[in-house]
Symmetry: C2
């Protein structure tokens, strides 16, 4: 058996979404014993400054976390938060480690559905990232109108505070429906809190869960089934 | 708000039990936003040599993991595995960090049930640790006969391989029943895999879950409600 790579996870944004991500990694690993699993170093750091406030200082904090994960033994990184990918370059530069990119993973999967226009449920920061990645493959982005986007953010904070159940799911589903009505042919769950309350059964178009796909890719990269992404190049 | 302490978790023994432990930590934290949670640095290292094979080299690996967690910012440690506490002294000496001890936590809780004899479901290594801690508070230890102990170990490895469901629960419950029949007045779930398949409803005596109690203590220590345990003293 060849040695598998150690994954470093920048987490805690939010903490429940990180555990969901770690559970997916374990579920996607073919393991008959403890030793068959991959090693994962995780920093569940809920003290990362809010990624959604203007002038957020999240970047330097994330860069420091990434460096510490490298010091502890990580070979390759993943960030369990879409919005925090705004700092992906800084994180890679500071740590010198390759990053398995969740935005790229989600955008590629959206294209593979055959859709021309993807609706994204995410923070403003995540929408900016998806707009760029989708445009790079000639896909259009459908977003909520400003009023609904604000209501969506309020719902995210309620999920972060622990709210679950049919009412929350119904509200999330309504946002997805609104995107479909505006022409979205697929929905990207562009915030790790979205799949905590909504699944494929809640929308009639294909639902892309970048966190789930990222978990699968992390397992594949660490077990040597998929090439390690190239390290950051200035 | 005072700064909370960062918890370092030695995990991966097994990986599912570590996620269960992390979920309990989050559930016991009074949080209305991401930032209210404590920071947890976790090494989910399923490559720690099996703690149940003679001459296991787990100690040095765990000591190295503990040192790396300190380097990454941990203030206080927890080990999400009963058996690995055999190396508790080495782990504390190597890291210089205080340890919130799961065996001590479980033994103390068993005494607080009012029982004089505690039945422990655990590996041989964990039974040795519980025997010592229970004896220190004048409590007796009830263990499975050698044949049943072997069957219990086989069941643990099936749980580690992902087996769940009513059949597994029934088998675990039978081991608890055997201990009660032999005079146990409380059952200690002395292996982190036990609570993955069995709860209080499965036994008529009080079930002590050291992992759950450890999670509560970790939250209390990191939020400053409980004193940090003294660091290791040679």
């Amino acid at each position: 058996m060849t040695e598998s790579l150690t994954l470093g996870v920048l987490g805690g944004m939010g903490p429940a979404a990180t555990l969901d991500f770690l559970a997916k990694i374990q579920a996607y690993t073919p393991a008959k014993s403890d030793q068959d699993h991959i090693r994962v170093l995780v920093d569940i750091n809920p003290k990362v400054p809010d990624r959604n406030t203007p002038g957020s200082l999240a970047g330097p904090v994330l860069a420091e976390m990434a460096g510490a994960l490298r010091g502890a033994g990580a070979d390759v990184l993943a960030i369990a938060c879409n919005t925090a990918h705004a700092h992906a370059d800084l994180i890679q530069r500071a740590s010198g480690l390759p990053l398995i990119d969740m935005i790229e993973t989600g955008a590629t999967a959206a294209r593979e559905t055959g859709a021309m226009r993807a609706g994204v449920l995410g923070t403003k920061g995540a929408l900016r990232l998806y707009r760029e990645y989708l445009a790079a493959q000639a896909m259009g982005l459908v977003t909520l109108d400003p009023e609904r986007q604000e209501a969506f953010m309020a719902l995210l904070y309620r999920i972060k505070a622990g709210e679950r159940g049919p009412a929350v799911t119904r509200e999330m589903k309504a946002f997805a429906d609104a995107l479909v009505k505006m022409g979205a042919e697929t929905i990207i769950a562009g915030c790790t809190e979205v799949p905590l309350v909504m699944g494929q059964e809640d929308t009639r178009v294909e639902l892309v869960d970048p966190g789930e796909l990222l978990a699968r890719r992390c397992v594949a990269v660490c077990l040597g089934w998929e090439t390690v992404p190239a390290a950051f190049d200035e």
